[in-house]
């Protein structure tokens, strides 16, 4: 390797500047001579590339800048930017979001693991996410990593179809004042943040945000009266800059629906808070140790009188180290303790027992082996125990081959598991549903193949194909004639599809993005099943999704356009739709920006998702004007 570097040094002066695309990591830079380092060109594309985009998995990284350019003013709307996610809005507060299928509102997409700064935010009630609880100040988001495919070996249970990791910027990158306010027919939003230094090597920020969302419209254009509002505040502090760093962050929030229909027993409210601490210690041999602990509390009430309260205590430790020249290990473990209390309303379903504690504990080991200079094998397994089903194992193997200096091929096989939630095991409706005492974990064995590369300096492409084999998917079986029904695992089947996206810099002021995803499902009931609802109940998914985005810069003006086409949903049926967004941004001065967004412009209103338990709501055409001030 050294000899080669010397030989190259002789020709360094005649070589064209090596483009960023040819460098995969610091391991390449080590091999260069000092003259070659001096000849490397750093372009703006390089600054936006997150190293995670080079992982042997189907990963789309939504950067903070991409979110800003899209005009999105909430987390679910920002997630529409990931071509490997299905995002559908049911009403002002509810979204159905999943990857690779199984979007289902009533039991909601339960195969996705969602984290905010390392804190898991899916609810143990049904293993899904209440998206109205998850507000994050978008201006302080560094990036959102969207991984489609199983992540069990790394992330544990529920990372069956994908992982969404929302990462905020460290406090020292959010110094100063940030204020933004926006007004539209669907959204009224105010965000304020102040950040600064805490002594020599620490920094902090505090923020407050208020949002009013909705109302959407009924199919005949009337006000759906599903508007709601929320206030949230929080802080983050980062201590230490060298070998030892500590982060402390927390949020509290409270929200409620604007309208209470006549005859309601109670109101729709949500409230809660969380506190997280993380300590990272870097050792002189290059290894590092991370310890994290958090507490999360979430309370919800509904108009039918249901109250739910979930408290989560979680602790995790990871240790990353090298062994020899070829192995990079990460080992670790964690423990989570969840207490929940569920109070039913009159004449509603109820959980039995009403209060439960769930414990999850896991250990994992992961090794990344450099088999050859251009071939890397990753092997990992996570062992997890939970209060319902005991021990689960989630192994994975990934192989990455650097086919050329600008392209990588990868293949992966993994097993992931969704452990039972309260709704799977403990849900009763008198005379109709008698829980799921025999419900076990759903499991997936996924095989994926992918390509990621940069065929030209201004063009990057990522594509993957997956084949998923599911077993023990939830069914609701008739036991009597037919009631009561009982929850079991009598569905199985395969899904397969492809995901691809490309980024093309047509000129240095014009960037184009395209994304497409397809999905085909072949599910069937097991022999002897008396499932009441049929295989369609597992998920209501489109067979294809296409998106196109354009971002243009004209000095102080930005013009951003987006187009998306989503296939029809089979049942409950939703027609296919095409919609478009347009945004103009003005950089008024060093400290002020103005933005005008027109969303869902092509139709007066359109339907995205239907649930049998919620009234049909459609997303109307909307506008949103926002002003940002950063003195």
């Amino acid at each position: 390797m050294r000899a080669l570097a010397c030989a190259v040094a002789l020709v360094c002066c005649t070589q064209p500047a090596l483009a960023q695309s040819q460098i995969a990591s610091i391991w390449d830079l080590r091999e260069l001579s000092i003259e070659e380092l001096a000849n490397l060109e750093i372009t703006s594309v390089a600054k936006q590339r997150s190293p995670l985009q080079e992982a042997p998995a189907s990963v789309y990284v939504v950067t903070g800048e991409e979110i800003r350019r899209s005009g999105a003013n909430s987390v679910p709307e920002a997630l529409r930017l990931a071509p490997n996610l299905q995002v559908a809005r049911l009403n002002a507060a509810t979204y159905a979001i999943t990857a690779r299928g199984f979007n289902h509102e009533t039991a909601t997409a339960n195969k996705l693991l969602v984290l905010i700064d390392g804190r898991t935010v899916y609810t143990p009630l049904y293993s899904g996410v209440f998206w109205d609880t998850q507000s994050v100040m978008l201006a302080d988001i560094d990036r959102i990593e969207v991984i489609s495919g199983p992540g069990g070996a790394l992330w544990g249970t529920n990372a069956v179809n994908g992982v969404i990791n929302i990462i905020t910027r460290p406090a020292d990158q959010t110094a100063g004042v940030h204020f933004d306010a926006g007004y539209g027919n669907l959204d009224k939003v105010v965000n304020a943040r102040f950040g600064g230094a805490l002594g020599e090597d620490a920094s902090f920020r505090i923020y407050a945000m208020g949002e009013k969302r909705g109302p959407l419209e009924t199919p005949d254009g009337k006000d759906a009266k599903d508007d709601w509002q929320k206030l949230q505040g929080g802080f983050r502090a980062d201590f230490g800059e060298g070998a030892s760093t500590f982060t402390l962050q927390g949020d509290i929030y409270a929200g409620e629906s604007e309208h209470v229909p006549a005859g309601s027993v109670s109101e729709n409210t949500l409230s809660g808070g969380n506190l997280l601490g993380r300590w990272v210690q870097r050792f002189s041999d290059g290894s590092n140790l991370q310890l994290q602990a958090y507490y999360d509390n979430a309370r919800r009430t509904t108009i039918s009188g249901i109250t739910s309260l979930v408290s989560t205590y979680d602790m995790d430790v990871h240790y990353a180290f090298r062994m020899g020249e070829r192995h990079a290990f990460v080992v670790g473990g964690g423990y989570r303790y969840i207490e929940d209390k569920f109070t039913p309303g009159p004449a509603t379903a109820f959980l039995d027992p009403a209060e439960r504690t769930l414990e999850l504990a896991n250990v994992f080991v992961h090794d990344q082996v450099a088999l050859q200079p251009d071939l890397t094998l990753s092997l990992g397994v996570k062992l997890e125990t939970n209060s319902y089903t005991g021990l689960e194992y989630m192994p994975e193997a990934r192989l990455a081959w650097l086919a050329s200096e600008t392209s990588m091929l990868w293949v992966a096989v993994a097993r992931a598991v969704r452990t039972p939630s309260r709704v799977d095991r403990d849900l009763y409706v008198t005379g109709l549903l008698a829980g799921g005492p025999d419900f076990v974990s759903e499991d997936l064995i996924a095989t994926e193949v992918g390509y990621r590369g940069q065929p030209a300096p201004n063009f990057s492409l990522s594509a993957s194909v997956f084949f998923n084999v599911y077993d023990d998917l939830r069914t609701v079986e008739a036991t009597g004639a037919p009631f009561p029904l009982v929850v079991k695992n009598n569905m199985e089947g395969e899904t397969y599809g492809a995901e691809a996206w490309a980024v093309y810099d047509a000129t240095d002021w014009w960037r184009l993005r395209a994304g497409v995803s397809t999905l085909h499902k072949d599910l069937e009931l097991k022999k002897g099943s008396t499932d009441f609802f049929g295989t369609g109940f597992a998920g209501n998914d489109p067979e294809y999704q296409i998106s196109l985005r354009s971002a243009m810069d004209f000095g102080d003006i930005e013009l951003d356009l987006g187009l998306r086409a989503i296939d029809a949903l089979p049942g409950p049926s939703v027609p296919a739709y095409v919609e478009a967004d347009a945004r103009i941004g003005w950089h008024l001065s060093e400290t002020m920006d103005l933005s005008l967004l027109g969303a869902n412009l092509l139709h007066e209103r359109h339907l995205e998702f239907v649930s049998s338990s919620l009234p049909r709501r459609e997303v109307p055409r909307s506008f949103f004007v926002s002003f940002t001030w950063r003195p």
Partner: protein
């Protein structure tokens, strides 16, 4: 050009379950790699044996990238030891010292390190008053550096003419010792 060890260490970072520590831009990765590559072009006064000290003081922009850059590398047969120090008094055993932070913090640190046999490296704007023996500059989308050979002389260091030629701006050392 041949690639060599292409570790996809990013999966390692992804696994931390939280914000991936150590993600750096190409620009920062290049600077991290430069640090130990300066060593063959510099002569330090004779000193105690032991590992070659590569230190970072103040704000560390490199993180894991620096540890990865020097992993298993040696300078003149000596292993490289990366240290993150808080103040100039801990700079014993540092052969190369990168000083991060704003220009006031850097100026104060450089003051305390005057005449010590340390190759100080900074990353400040060209017009900053106090800079290290080596200061990174971006020239035309390339990461380059300027050298203050007079300051090197003050610290008892000899910088090879090869490195001086490669730099973008040299402040000459006095011709009389």
């Amino acid at each position: 050009m041949n690639r060599s060890w292409i570790f996809i260490l990013l999966m390692v970072l992804a696994m931390s379950g939280g914000p991936a520590a150590g993600e750096v831009t190409l620009e920062t990765a290049i600077k991290a790699t430069y640090l130990y590559k300066f060593a063959p072009f510099v002569e330090w006064p004779a000193g105690p044996e032991g590992p070659f000290g590569l230190c970072v003081m103040g704000k560390d922009p490199f993180g894991d990238a620096l540890d990865d850059a020097v992993y298993a590398e040696k300078i003149n047969g000596r292993p490289i030891k990366v240290q993150r120090i808080k103040s100039a008094s801990a700079a014993k055993g540092c052969h190369i010292l990168y000083i991060g932070g704003d220009h006031r913090q850097v100026a104060a640190a450089l003051n305390r390190l005057r005449s010590l046999p340390v190759l100080t490296v900074t990353d400040l704007p060209r017009d900053a008053q106090a800079k290290g023996v080596v200061n990174f500059v971006i020239v035309d989308n390339h990461v380059r550096f300027e050298i203050d050979d007079a300051a090197a002389a003050e610290n008892g260091l000899v910088i090879s003419s090869k490195l001086l030629r490669l730099s973008r701006g040299v402040r000459q050392r006095p011709t009389k010792q």
